[in-house]
């Protein structure tokens, strides 16, 4: 698991939770037909936590949420191809 950015870990509990809330709201709108690779990740708790971490890392780098979700979905799909 990649370490979380220091800038996130130094946030207050309220700020961390606010960011989690924003991520959860974005993930709630995902369906099996929109971003199917991310949707699959959400079905397992450890994968779900890892996905949330990846989104935090991306957001802290300044990426916009929707672009980030598309990028992560594509990366998971490519990883899947290599595994096959």
């Amino acid at each position: 698991m990649r370490p979380l950015p220091l800038s996130f870990m130094l946030m207050s509990h309220e700020e961390q939770a606010k960011m989690h809330e924003e991520i959860c709201m974005a993930l709630e709108t995902i369906s099996s037909s929109s971003l199917q690779n991310i949707y699959r990740q959400l079905q397992q708790v450890e994968a779900k936590r890892m996905l949330i971490r990846e989104i935090i890392i991306g957001l802290q780098k300044g990426f916009e949420m929707s672009a980030l979700l598309i990028q992560i979905d594509t990366t998971i799909s490519r990883d899947g191809e290599y595994e096959e």
């Binding site: 870990m9 993930l27 959400l42 779900k48 936590r49």
Partner: protein
């Protein structure tokens, strides 16, 4: 003589400025022990955690004879690592923390155990497992130790509206109930709470736990005299 605040600030500066590969000396570790902003700072290690480990060792007859504990343990609020520094040998730990400095202090004070035991230092909260309504594949442990705060904004994001609403009222009850989901059959959950709220918290926990888990648990009733500060729930 530095004030408490100055001491905490200088410990935080030390943690932020140390190189990644820094090896702590004994005097560094003594310095880190003085940090008092972690959840367990007010707990007397000898009184509280000796009692925790004494209760834990009674779970299995063989362990009680050896005054030991062999198994996997989840610590939901790692604080400054007192639950681990006082623990007997033989335990694999998963420690969660949402405060960076406490997370680093716990690692510094307890990573020596890694030579013999598995240690997972997890920056995050147990509430994350209950975001978005899916809990398939929850890990399970022989023992879960929780020292929850009364308020926690992460807990309020639980997908279950009843649990989220309970978290807004009293995060201690929330964490006790959610922590129990990680307890294996015959395993136990130990919740450390302030003495003055122990009985009321226990009543609220048992009500909500029964609602969520059904009749799958046994518990020790805290004394009405208000002496108890550790609540124990065992999965049947």
């Amino acid at each position: 003589m530095p004030t408490r605040e100055q001491l905490n600030d200088s410990i935080e500066a030390f943690i932020l400025n140390k190189p990644n590969d820094y090896v702590y000396t004994n005097s560094d570790l003594n310095f880190l022990r003085k940090y008092d902003k972690c959840e367990d700072a007010g707990l007397n290690e000898k009184v509280v955690f000796d009692k925790v480990w004494s209760l834990a060792s009674k779970m299995k007859e063989a362990d009680e004879a050896e005054n030991a504990f062999y198994g996997n343990v989840l610590v939901t609020h790692g604080g400054g690592g007192k639950a681990i520094t006082s623990a007997p040998e033989g335990i694999s730990f998963h420690v969660m923390n949402t405060n960076y400095f406490c997370h680093e202090i716990t690692k510094a004070l307890t990573s020596g155990r890694q030579s013999n035991n598995f240690m997972r230092y997890d920056f995050g909260t147990l509430a994350e497992y209950f975001y978005l309504g899916n809990t398939d594949g929850l890990p399970s442990y022989d023992l879960v130790i929780s020292h929850p705060p009364a308020k926690c904004p992460h807990a309020e994001l639980d997908h279950d509206s009843l649990l989220a609403s309970e978290a807004r009222k009293n995060a201690r009850v929330y964490y006790a109930v959610r922590s129990f989901a990680f307890v294996e059959p015959q395993g136990s959950l130990l919740v450390i709470v302030p003495r003055e709220v122990a009985l009321k918290t226990h009543e609220d926990i048992t009500d909500l736990l029964f609602h969520v888990e059904g009749a799958t648990f046994d518990f020790d009733v805290p004394s009405a005299a208000g002496d108890d500060f550790i609540l124990k729930y065992t999965r049947l």
